[in-house]
Amino acid sequence: MADVFIPGSLEEAVDFLADHPTTAMPIAGGTDLLVDARTGRSRPERLVDLSGLRGIEGFELDGELLRVGALTRIRSIELDAELGRRATALVEAARVLGSVQIRTMATVGGNLCHGTPSAEMPPSLLVHDAVAEITGKGGQYSVPLAAFFVAPGRTVLAPGDLLTSVRARVPSSAAGSCYLRQTVRWSMDLAGVGVAASVHVEGGAVSNARVALCAVAPVPMVVTGAENAVMGTSLAPDALAEAGRRAAEACSPISDARGTAEYRRQVVSVLVPRALRIAWLRATGSWPEGSPAPVNGVWTRE
């Protein structure tokens, strides 16, 4: 049986976690931690309940800066119309995570800190150059989200460190993004492959591009090679195919119940071009506003 400590402040939570480095774990939504505890994957002796802490819940858009508090519920991302326009990939990733119940409980911070290779939030934050903001015993510091994940289930966080928020750059115009994933089931499933893409379009060409993947490597990853393949182009088929090829080469999937490594690479090579294309259509105003990307990114109309 685990004891539960309910801190009155962030500082109290940090102090308690630092004082009990091997036995205490923070809990927020509980949708990963309590499953792990129940299935024996982790045996926390002390839980530090963050769910009542004030000040790190919710998100705000200030110009091009998006800051998402670690305790922000996935469901509140999913339902926000402004985020749907400005950070479409993030909202699309939120929409496919678990069930309504899970999204109501689960937090953005928990999704990142649990370190699951197939976690839904990281790719869509990585394509917006996200930075993790952390409070620890020694004060506050920041880590690029691309360097936050160390191994499956492991992040850079030391005992006593708490992720408090994530900041990201969300362009206000001529930009678009998209998140696509392959799953065995449409709902209540983890990604077999997850792909986020964002593009910024100037003068009819891509002036900035980001591609990030999940579930195809030990940690979520940015694919710079795929980005370079489309920079300066207007996403002609050969540029898109090259981006897909480079992403498939760069990743290192495993074979498991959700697909073989070979199949996953193939899916990456298909979904990366589709996600880039939809991001482009959104950036150029050619995609119906508020319309989600179709399942697996297959569409018939432009």
Partner: protein, 164 residues
């Protein structure tokens, strides 16, 4: 640990193990067994209840995390006149078989209709994606939700509808 919260409009306070789940609090401590004990991993939705009006799986929430909140379980839906519209529609549409998933289904539907009084079939299926039924399939459940939504809309009524 002392846990005090409101359930179906009544205040409850009990001393419980700190890591007790809300599900166990409802069923084992208070005897409210309408909420079902299913997978315990958040997959089946049989333990769905509303916390501050929002649907959660009570197997993955600690009772202490619901401190001071308003919880609604299936026992709280019944009205003085009998079953509420959603419960009644599940009965009249034969949207139950063994019935084990039904309380969780009904709670998810309650949450849906509070925010979306006119859901279409796709929205209903999305809202119920986290509630598994292993008996009937889902067609009759979707029919029941469509009917419950229509009945609730007409019961609430709009001024224009009242005039006509």
């Amino acid at each position: 640990m002392r846990v005090a919260l409101e359930i179906n409009g009544d205040d409850y306070a009990r001393d419980v193990e700190p890591d007790l789940t809300l599900l166990s609090f409802l069923r084992d401590v208070l005897g409210l067994t309408g909420t079902k004990w299913g997978c315990l991993t958040g997959d089946c939705g049989a333990c769905t209840v509303l916390v501050d009006g929002k649907p959660v799986v009570s197997c993955l929430q600690l009772a202490c995390q619901a401190q001071g909140r308003e919880v609604t379980t299936v026992e709280g839906l019944e009205t003085p006149g009998g079953l509420d519209e959603v419960q009644a529609a599940f009965v009249s549409n034969g949207a139950t078989q063994c019935g084990f998933c039904t309380p969780g289904m009904v709670m998810s539907v309650e949450a849906l209709l509070r925010t979306n009084p006119s859901p279409n079939e796709a929205e209903i299926r999305e809202a119920l994606a986290g509630n598994l039924c292993r008996c009937t399939g889902y067609s009759k459940i979707v029919d029941a939700v469509l009917q419950a939504a229509a009945e609730r809309r007409s019961a609430v009524g709009s001024p224009a509808a009242d005039v006509s």
